[in-house]
Structure formats: C-alpha cells, structure tokens
C-alpha cells in the first residue's frame, strides 16, 4: 500500500489533499467535518484585520458553467474574505488544531499592505498553533478594489515586501498564493522567493463573468440587476493552472521552490498530474463544493491504487517527474510522425470525427456508404481532433510511424533522429544541426 503522507515545508499531513482557503473552510464546523471525512489539511478561509469584519452581498455569490447533464465545469464567486470576526476565527482555529494535531492547518491572511497591519495580526495567528500561513495575494474581486488580494499579487514589489514582513514577524512556514490574473506568473513567484517565502500556491481564481442574463441584461451572478467579475475556478481552469505551475517549476529563478497546486482538482488523477509537475501537495475547493467532503475518499483510494500499480511508494517518488518533459515548442521533435487509427470494433459510427475533420481540419477521414470511418493517411497530420471529439474512449488513437517507413502524406521517409524547429531549414534563424 502506497504511503500518501506528505511533508510540505515540514508540515506533515496524512495525504496530499488539502482544502483550499474558501467557503468550505470558513469555520470550525466545516473544518471538523472535513477532517472527519479524511482531508489531509485545510487552509482556513482568509482572515482580515481586527475590527468590524467585511460584509458580503446578500444576493447570489456564485455563477456557473455547465457541461452535459448540468455537470459543474466552472464556478465563479464574488464572496469576500471571512465575514466573521477575527477573534472567533482565531479561537476556532486554536481548538481545531488542538483536536487534529496530525492534520495540516494553514491560516490564510489578507490585511492592508502596511507593515503595522501584518505586524499586528501575525503573532495572534502564531498563537493559534496553526502550522503555517498563506498570503492571499490572489482574490480578484472586491478586496482587490481596496488594494488587497490580487492588487498586491499583480505587483511583484508588493509581494516581496509583504512576504519579508511575514518572515520577520512569523516563525512558521509562509506560503504565497498567486493570482493568475497576470501575464507572466514567474515574476510574482520570483518576488515571493526573494521575499523569503517558503512556498507558493497557485492558482487563485481567474477574473470572469460566467454568463449574461438575456432578460435583464445583467452579468451573472446578478445582484439587483448588476453584476461584477468574479473569481473563476473548477475543472475548466485546470489547464491554465497546470501550465502556470509548470512554468514556475521550470524557470531558473523559481525552480525547486515548493508548490501547492490549486485549480480544478476533482479526481485523484488531477492531483497526480499536479504533483508530477512539481507540486508537493494539492488544494481542492470546487469539487468539494459540488459533491461534498466525501470525494476525498475517491482521491485517496485512486491515488493509492495508481501509485501501487506504478510502484511508487511515496509521493516524492513521482513528484516533478513530468517537469523535465515540459519544454518549449521549439524543442519538440518534428521527426515524430503519427497517424490516427480508428478501432472499427469500438466505433459506434456517430461520425463526429468525420464532421470535425472534414469541416474544420484536414479532410483526412473517409466515410463509406455503410458509415465505416477510416483515416486517409495521405491527409492525416495527426492533429488529434478526431480523438478529442470521439465519444468513445480509446476508439481513435494516434499511432507513431516507425522510423524508416514512408509518411504517405509527405512521401518522405520518417527520420529516426530527433530534429526540432531550431535546426529546421524553414526557420530563418535556424542554427546548423550538429
């Protein structure tokens, strides 16, 4: 049986599945239920400074994007940080941590970009016994209008400065949570590192309007006929988050920095993918908000089974294993040639591959009178669109042409040697192949 325990910045947890700072972790009641359900850790919903707490809207806070059968693919929210008092939150955190010493408990914090504000709150958080803090430099709505959240995360200098204060006034690990609402995520990550951050977590939510009400002409979620952008999350954002994680894992100035992966993690498989791109653990929110805390059971059993099947005895075994295989386009092997192959036994003859290829791609699928669909190797560029639109898994696959064979499309022999764009004759800036 694979060992799922993780040691992230010295913080131990029985599994890599943490709940992200969000509504599910807003109070003691929920967090206790989460730990009972089996979650390895929790990032407590963001605390604000002493004083009257923030207020939330009293209308809808969430918008949604559905797939077939109203499956939640994306969620956005306009909820702010905790709207409960700092004192109550701190008391609850203290109690919960005492009762669950084996679980990770991180406190998310967002206070104004002033040293005094951080200096005031950090000792009080430290006194709870929580394992670390996460700096919320990511929330894209509401708080950012007040100079916090994403407004800090979008300015590397601010990140560096605040992180430094935190390292100064707090003794335990400091994680900086990054906003994706920037052009190059490596810049804020590097700033966090310069400020002394122990880790980064990403991504926070993405600026979004999920839909527009065509009767009222208001963006959703709509509050009395008006809407504002919210933070987008859920399965739809996973590809964006994975890419950003990979960039931080690969960049020279941030490589090796511990990463907590966030963004659309719904199954054990999603979690494993994040870990292979360099994350030490993952944080989950939308999946829990859609299905409840119980989903962690599938994540634990699935990851465990896969690790056993692959012979991985610990999370470290496969952590970062996909990072070396993440490269720039220019280094992809142009001598790798594949063709789509349709498994006629698995094919249900829906013809979606044909429609997609014929109308929008390379006219590389033939359709016979009796609805047999076959790939025309002379036309197929192996774009994968037919694979992507086929409703039957593994019915269409891409198969590599063996070196030495002739590609019927180009009439050229498939070369055995790796060759990329940097040496390609069509590239004006090509360097001679060695």
């Amino acid at each position: 049986m694979a060992d799922l325990t993780t040691d992230f910045l010295g913080i131990k947890s029985p599994n890599p599945f943490w709940l992200a700072s969000a509504p599910p972790t807003d109070k003691e009641y929920n967090v206790r239920r989460a730990f009972e359900a089996g979650w390895g850790g929790v990032v407590w919903k963001t605390l604000g400074e002493e004083g009257p707490p923030v207020v939330n809207v009293n209308g809808p806070r969430y918008g949604v994007i559905y797939g077939a059968d109203r499956r939640v693919l994306g969620l956005n929210n306009i909820e702010l940080i905790t709207d409960r008092s700092l004192e109550i939150n701190l008391e609850e955190i203290t109690r919960v941590k005492k009762d669950y010493p084996d679980r990770a408990l991180i406190v998310s914090i967002m206070v104004p970009c002033e040293e005094e504000a951080w200096k005031a709150i950090l000792p009080r958080v430290e006194a709870t016994g929580a394992d670390g803090i996460e700096l919320n430099f990511g929330c894209p709505h509401g708080m950012s209008e007040r100079g916090m959240g994403a407004a800090v995360g979008q300015v590397p200098e601010y990140i560096e400065r605040v992180t430094r204060w935190c390292k100064q006034y707090y003794s335990k690990p400091v994680i900086v949570k990054l906003t994706p609402n920037i052009t190059d995520v490596r810049k804020p990550a590097a700033a966090a590192r310069r400020g002394g951050a122990d880790a980064v977590s990403l991504i926070n939510t993405i600026n979004s309007i999920t839909s527009v009400n065509l009767d009222t002409m208001s963006p959703e979620p709509s509050i009395d006929g008006k809407g504002t952008h919210g933070g987008y999350c859920g399965p739809a954002v996973k590809p964006i988050a994975l890419s950003m994680v990979s960039e931080i894992a690969r960049a020279e100035e941030t490589a090796g920095m511990p990463i907590s992966g966030i963004g659309g993690i719904t199954t054990w498989r999603d979690a494993a993918e994040y870990i292979t791109l360099g994350c030490g653990n993952v944080q989950v929110c939308t999946a829990a908000m859609t299905y409840g805390f119980k989903i962690v059971q599938e994540m634990i059993s699935g990851l465990s089974q896969w690790m056993d099947e692959k012979g991985h005895t610990s999370i470290d075994d496969f952590m970062g294993k996909a990072v070396p295989n993440t490269t720039d386009w220019q280094y992809l092997n142009l001598n790798y040639v594949a063709k789509a192959v349709i498994d006629q036994d698995a094919c249900i003859a829906c013809g979606r591959c044909y429609a997609a290829c014929e109308d929008t791609s390379h006219q590389a699928i033939a359709m016979s009178e009796d609805r047999t669909f076959t790939v025309i190797d002379e036309e197929c560029v192996a774009c994968n669109l037919c694979v992507d639109v086929c409703p039957v898994e593994d019915c269409i696959t891409l198969v590599q042409l063996a070196p030495g064979t002739v590609d019927p499309r180009t009439g050229k022999v498939v070369e055995k040697e790796y060759a990329n764009w940097t040496t390609h004759p069509n590239n004006p800036g090509a360097v001679a192949a060695e």
């Binding site: 077939a68 059968d69 109203r70 249900i348 003859a349 829906c350 013809g351 979606r352 044909y354 429609a355 359709m367 609805r371 409703p391 039957v392």
Partner: protein
C-alpha cells in the same frame, strides 16, 4: 358488479378508477428536467443514422440540440417542417424499429436517446401554445381534393394549403383523423389528442373538412377529377379480411379494428363489454392493440394466436413484450381451424403450423383455447379500387404517389409500397403534395 371472472362478454369488469388508470399515457410525457437530461445524451452525429431511419427525415440531432439549448418551440418547428403530424408520430411511431434502433447510443450502450419522447416534449410545447409555425403562401387559385382525413390525407392537405392551394378533405367517418382517431390504442393517444391535432393542423387555413363522404358512395372519382385540379386518395384500408373458417359468424367473433374503434370513441369505458377469455387472431400492431386493451378492460385471459413464428410477426419485439408484460399470452405457429360454441363462441380450435419449403402448412396437431370473444386482426383490404390500376391488392403508384389516372395521386395504407405506419403515411402525403404542387404550377 362484474369482475374479471364473470363469464361471457360483459362490461364493467373493472371499476372506473382502475380503467382510468389503465388507459393513461403509455409513456408519460417528459418533464423539463427529464427532457434536458435526455437531450444531453445526443451526440449530434454527422449525417445521423436516426434521420436516415426516419421515414419523414426529421432532422433529429438538430431538434434535440434545440431542446437542449432551451428552445423547444424551434425544435417543434424543425419536426413539423418534415412531419406535420410529428405530435402523433411521437406517440405511436415504433421508434424501437426506426430512429431509436439506429441511434448510435443503442449500439454503444443498448440505450438509445429517447427520441420519441423528446419529440413529444417539443411538439407538445408548441401545440399547447396553439402556435402554427407555418403560414400559407400566396393563393394559387387551385383547388385540390383529398379523400381520407387520416395521416396521409392530413399531411398532404396541410402541405398543399401551405403552398397556397385550397384543399377540401373528404372523409367517410363523422370525425377527421382516420386511424389516429379510430384505430390507435387508447393509451397511445390520450386526452382527445387526435382531434386536437386535426384542429391545430387546420389552423393554417385553406383546409375544409367534409365528413360523411365515402369514395364509391357519395364521391365518384370522375366527378372529383372534373371538379378539382388534383385529387389525392388516402382512403386507407376499409375492408377487413375474414377468417374463412367454420363458426366465423358466431356471436362474440368480431373485427379487432371495430373493437378498437368502439373503445376509442367510448366516453365511458365501463360501458364497453369485453370477454372473460379473449383470443386475437393475427400478428400485427392491431392484434397487439386489441389484446392489450382487452386485458386493460379486465379480461381474465387474452391470447394472441399467430400462424407463424415470433420473428415473422409484424408487431415489433417491443410491442410483443408490451403485450406479454400486460399478461397477454403469445401463441406462435398456430392457425385457426374452427370456432365452436352454441350460438356464441365458447372455444377456438387452432392447428399447429410448420413452414416447409417456404410454405406454411398445418401439422394436423390441434389445440383448443377457451374463448368467449375472438378478434380478427388478420389484415385489412382496400374497400374500393375506384377503377384505378392495382398493384397486388393496393392502388398502384409510381413516383410520389401518381396513380394510373392522370390528376389522381394516392398515399398511405391504400397505396402500394411502404410500411403501413402512421409516419410512412405522413411522408407519402407530404411528398405527393409536393408533386401535385409541382404539377399544378407547371414546373414538372
């Protein structure tokens, strides 16, 4: 008070409530949520097999996508564009043999997209609003006669009216609708749907319905040809085949179509008599409809006796199972030899059959089945040929329903070729209308 075991052919074997429950919709209409879930399963296939399988070529993937995007009214228009009786077809089509059999998800999972029920969802939406999505073209001044207000005749009439012609629809019966009104099992067309559909269809205008006119009696073909620019015959099959065996004339022996007709027109099902032991001779949809409804009226035993094997039965496997699930016994490879009884039928004698060299013969082995009611459902025949050329026992046609007489078209069950299905009749009526239009407007 009678019950299931009361001997003879008697009414009120079941109470009012039970009868009402027995004759509600066979398939309940989909709710909005159910329709959304069902529509989500459609793959929007390219050149979809379901469309190929539909005799009226309804663009099924398009209408299902229109349902899934919240525009069932547009979906209904897509359906009605090809099949103006899409509402009835949604209820009576043997979808298990047509679109749903061809659905790729039938192949993939043994569970097709519920096309029939989705079609009903869409068509109900628009029809319940009383919206006729089509308008008439500029008047052509041409008059066309349609004889028979069944599916073929109504389909033809609507299309002709839409194209700007003035249509007179004659029918022998007091109500329009043909088999939709008089012939389909009651649980497939509840709530007077057939009559509502006729009213809705005629709301396009330009269609006059004249009941009580039968071809060969009140109507003569040569007069029609003289009075109208074109004639479309859709008279169905008015005659019923006899059993041709001893005792065929005993009390309690009747035509299944008459029984179904009485049932459809009955305002109070408790007044409708049915036997304790019912035997239906035949293997088509009419046999199944009569058998199942006998059971639903409270008959104790109901047997369908069919002379060939299960595979040869023209009622679909789904219909056979429907009968079996209602407790109808299916007897295969038996043919009627004699009906016994003193005045009224008491027993039917059947002989087992075998097929040798492609020919059905009796084996000599007999079986007797208790019966106080026997229904003949062994096919119907053309009531009058009206002097037209026949192809077998039906009106011969070429192209889109052209008969041997110029200016006269035919379609539906009375015309040769095609399955005797509502949906086929609709297609034939529609296509004949297009051909009539082209002929009248001189573009043929």
């Amino acid at each position: 008070m009678n019950n299931t075991f009361t001997p003879g052919v008697v009414p009120a074997r079941l109470g009012t409530d039970e009868l009402q429950q027995n004759f509600t919709d066979l398939h309940a209409p989909l709710s909005g949520h159910e329709a959304a879930v069902a529509a989500d399963r459609c793959y929007f296939c390219h050149d979809a097999p379901c469309v190929t399988a539909c005799p009226t070529d309804i663009d099924i993937p398009l209408f299902i996508r229109q349902i899934s995007t919240g525009t069932p009214e547009a979906a209904a228009t897509t359906i009605f564009d090809m099949n103006i009786l899409g509402g009835m077809c949604a209820r009576v089509c043997p979808t298990e043999d047509l679109c749903e059999q061809a659905c790729v998800r039938e192949l993939a999972e043994g569970k097709p997209v519920e096309i029939g029920r989705l079609q009903r969802f869409a068509t109900d939406k628009l029809m319940n609003k009383g919206v006729m999505p089509f308008t008439r073209a500029q008047a052509t001044g041409k008059k066309v006669a349609v004889v028979g207000a069944g599916p073929a005749g109504l389909s033809c009439a609507h299309r002709l009216a839409m194209l700007g012609h003035d249509v007179t629809v004659y029918d022998a019966m007091p109500k329009a609708g043909g088999l939709n009104e008089y012939g389909i099992a009651a649980y497939k067309s509840t709530g007077d749907f057939a009559a509502r559909e006729v009213d809705w269809l005629c709301s396009i205008g330009g269609i006059e319905i004249k009941p009580g006119f039968a071809l060969g009696n009140e109507l003569k073909i040569d007069e029609l040809v003289g009075d109208f620019a074109a004639v479309f015959l859709a008279v169905g099959l008015g005659g019923v085949n006899a059993l041709g065996i001893a005792g065929d004339d005993k009390d309690g022996v009747a035509d299944a179509v008459s029984f179904i007709q009485e049932l459809r027109q009955a305002s109070d099902l408790t007044t409708l008599p049915v036997g304790r032991n019912v035997v239906v001779i035949g293997g088509g949809m009419t046999a199944v409809d009569a058998a199942v409804q006998s059971k639903l009226l409270g008959a104790d035993t109901v047997t369908i006796a069919y002379r060939r094997g299960r595979d040869a039965m023209s009622a679909s496997r789904y219909e056979q199972d429907l009968a079996a699930s209602h407790g109808v016994k299916l007897l295969f490879n038996v043919q009627p030899k004699a009906i016994h009884g003193n005045g009224a039928v008491a027993e039917i004698e059947l002989e087992y059959t075998a097929t040798e060299n492609g020919k059905l013969t009796g084996t000599g082995e007999m079986i007797r089945v208790l019966a106080d009611q026997v229904f003949r459902a062994i096919g119907q025949t053309l009531a009058t040929e009206a002097g037209l050329k026949l192809d077998g026992r039906k009106l011969a046609i070429t192209g889109a329903g052209r008969t041997s007489l110029a200016g006269v078209w035919a379609g539906g069950d009375c015309a040769a070729g095609g399955d005797d299905l509502t949906v086929t009749a609709v297609a034939e009526g529609r296509d004949a209308a297009m051909d009539i239009h082209a002929t009248l407007m001189g573009s043929n």
